[in-house]
Structure formats: C-alpha cells, structure tokens
Subunit: 211 residues, 2 copies
C-alpha cells in the first residue's frame, strides 16, 4: 500500500506529520513525501524542513493520498502541477484524504463536487463556491474522500482511516503504541468551547492563520 503525503512550500507541519506517524505504522505501508521537486520543503513558519523523496511525476498512482493545509496551499488552488497531479492520482486512489485547508485544494481540483467535507473552522464557507458541502464534523467520510478539520484533527482522521484500511485491532494497537489518550490542558480547541475573547482574537488574525 503506497501512501503519498503531498508537500508544498509553507505547508502546516502537523497536518502531515500527524497522519504520517499513524499511517506509516500500518502493515505493508510504503510512505513517500512528494512535492513538485524532491528536496527539503519548508513549513509555514519557515524553520521546519521536511524532505520530499519524490517529484509528483515519480508517484503517479499512490493508493492513499494525504493533502495537508497551510498558507502555501493558496498558491496551488489554480490550475498547475499540484492540481493536475491531484486529479490524475485521485483517479486510481483507494482513499483521498486531506487535513485542515487541504480540503480546499481537493475541492479546487474538482474532487469534492457535491460531497460532504470539512476544513479548518475558519474556512467552512470557502468550501461552498468550490462545490463541496461544508460539514462541521471533526472527520468526514464521503465515499473514498476523507477530510479533517483544522491541523490536529489529522490525528483523528488517521486513526479512523487506519481502522477502515486495516481493521479496528490494528488501529487501536497504533493508538496504544502512540499513547493517544489526549488530555488538553485547556478547553479552547473549538470556537464553541474557547473563551469568547480568544475566538475574537483568532478571527481577527484569520488572514495570518489560514491564508
């Protein structure tokens, strides 16, 4: 099972490393980081560089595609190498997945037409003009398409997807090995639970966070 993780300049690191750290432990998984050009790819902060092993053309038919979000995603919304690769690779994939605003890339590539999907809570409305149906859940399955909410939701997506691919026992084993028993020290992870002043501050900084 070949799993391709898309990288592009200014991606969000956890969007891709969270799912990677789960899915790479599936039996028989062969993981590849793929980008327009092989070599180091910098995240949105600029201080983390993940190494892309392969160019897009080198990975034409992965079984699973994982697309992260991040401010750099905007550069690939229009027709171009990344969008063309997504459309072509998706024709043969078993699962096509995204984390955070990665779903906007999938939708821009025309892959979520009429499908239920989620994204970062600040960007739900942006799915509509791209043809998808915004669905305010943490992980949304619609056929072979699986989308996750913001950043850290990629972990929940990965465990759910691991279960679909390899069964509950394997998914639960990876969860226990990773001690994924989250205990956030604050209850601020969603606009419904965060203090109103925090929600306001993040809305005001929206452009810096998801664009």
């Amino acid at each position: 099972m070949r799993i391709a993780f898309l990288l592009f300049d200014r991606f969000t690191a956890l969007d891709v490393t969270g799912p990677y750290d789960v899915l790479s432990h599936l039996p028989g998984a062969e993981t590849t980081f793929v980008a327009e050009r092989p070599g180091p790819v910098a995240n949105e902060v600029g201080s983390l560089r993940l190494y892309a092993d392969a160019a897009l053309a080198d990975v034409p038919r992965p079984d699973v595609i994982v697309v992260p979000g991040g401010p750099g995603q905007n550069a690939h919304m229009a027709d171009g190498p990344v969008r063309r690769w997504l459309r072509a690779a998706d024709q043969h994939s078993t699962w096509t997945a995204s984390v955070c605003t990665g779903s906007l890339l999938l939708a821009a590539a025309g892959l979520l037409n009429g499908r239920r999907a989620t994204t970062h809570w600040l960007r739900h409305d942006d799915l509509v003009p791209l043809g998808a149906i915004p669905t305010p859940e943490r992980v949304v399955f619609d056929g072979k398409y699986v989308t996750a909410a913001g950043v850290s939701a990629g972990l929940d997506l990965a465990f759910a997807l691991a279960g679909r691919i390899a069964g509950d026992f394997v998914a639960q084993s990876i969860q226990l090995a990773h001690e994924y028993d989250p205990q956030p020290p604050y209850r601020a992870g969603s606009p419904a639970t965060a203090p109103p002043a925090v929600v306001e501050a993040i809305r005001a900084r929206r452009a810096a966070i998801v664009n």
Copy 2:
C-alpha cells in the same frame, strides 16, 4: 526565546513535530532543529527526514530544550556528544522538556535525579535505575523539567508549557488556531482503556515499539 529541538537518527517524528507546531507559534519564538551533524535526519520508520539546521555545538544555550524519544534514543544513553550537550545546555535553559522515552535520555544525563517524571507507559520502570521517580501522568512538571508520556502526549505538554511561558490566553489562541479538540475514534490510547487483547499485543511487541 530560542527553542532547540533535538534530533537523532531513528527519532519518533510526532514527538518533536507536535511540540514544534505549538511552541513555534509563541510570540518571539526562534526554533532550531539540532543534531550531531546538520542535514536530514531519518525517523524510526526511515521514510521521514527532518532537516537539522545546526550542529550541537552551534546551539550551546537554548532557552528551551525539547528532547524526543524513539528507538534511536538508546544509542545516546551512554556518555557521548548528545548527553554532553544535554548536560551543558541544561545548565542555562529556562525549560528542559522531553516527550515519550526522551525522558530516559534526560535521566541518563543525570538531569532528573530525584525528580518526578513520566515516559511512554511501557517504560515507566526504566526511569527508576536512572534516578527519576516514575509518575503515571500525561504531563509532569518538576521545577523547570517537563516530561510527557508516549508520543502524542507531546501536544498536551506543549500547550501546558506554552501557558507557563506566555500565559493562558496565548496558549488557548494557539489551541484554537490548531483546532485541538481531540476526538479519537477509539478509546484505546491507554492500557487502562484499550481492549485487553490490544494491550497484550503491544506488550508482546514492546521491543519493536520503544527500543
């Protein structure tokens, strides 16, 4: 505020990328990945490579040190460049943190003598001969030392540490921006909640997971 993330061959990716993705968003944070030699460093699976920006000697006095775990940690338990760097850097750090079996490295460096600490649930007993007091909590603060349980606990550590460094409002803002509102699809993240057969399977594969 200079934050140094230690890398070594066969580290666990999420141990370091989880905390990075939180702490790198602190106001004024200057993050560096440091390893014995600059350049790409491969994780335990071998298919993820993070780029180390600096050699150990280039980062002598970080304000915050973050040490991941992973099977490769064993190679640095004895006296050597990594242990010497940890001991020297720790003399000036404001916070010294670890995720998963990274605490065994801190303890082997003599930094957790008589201190409460946690680690991956499979390795709690191994803290004892290294002089630390195993404490079965997800995140343990003892003075300036902060240790997290297995892998994904690094996220909870990072938000707790962000709060200590920059206050609740900043930590909550990062949590909301990252939509850290975890909803694991299974209740298998700790030996207390996972199905007994899963716990047995992981105990049997212990050597492959934490060594």
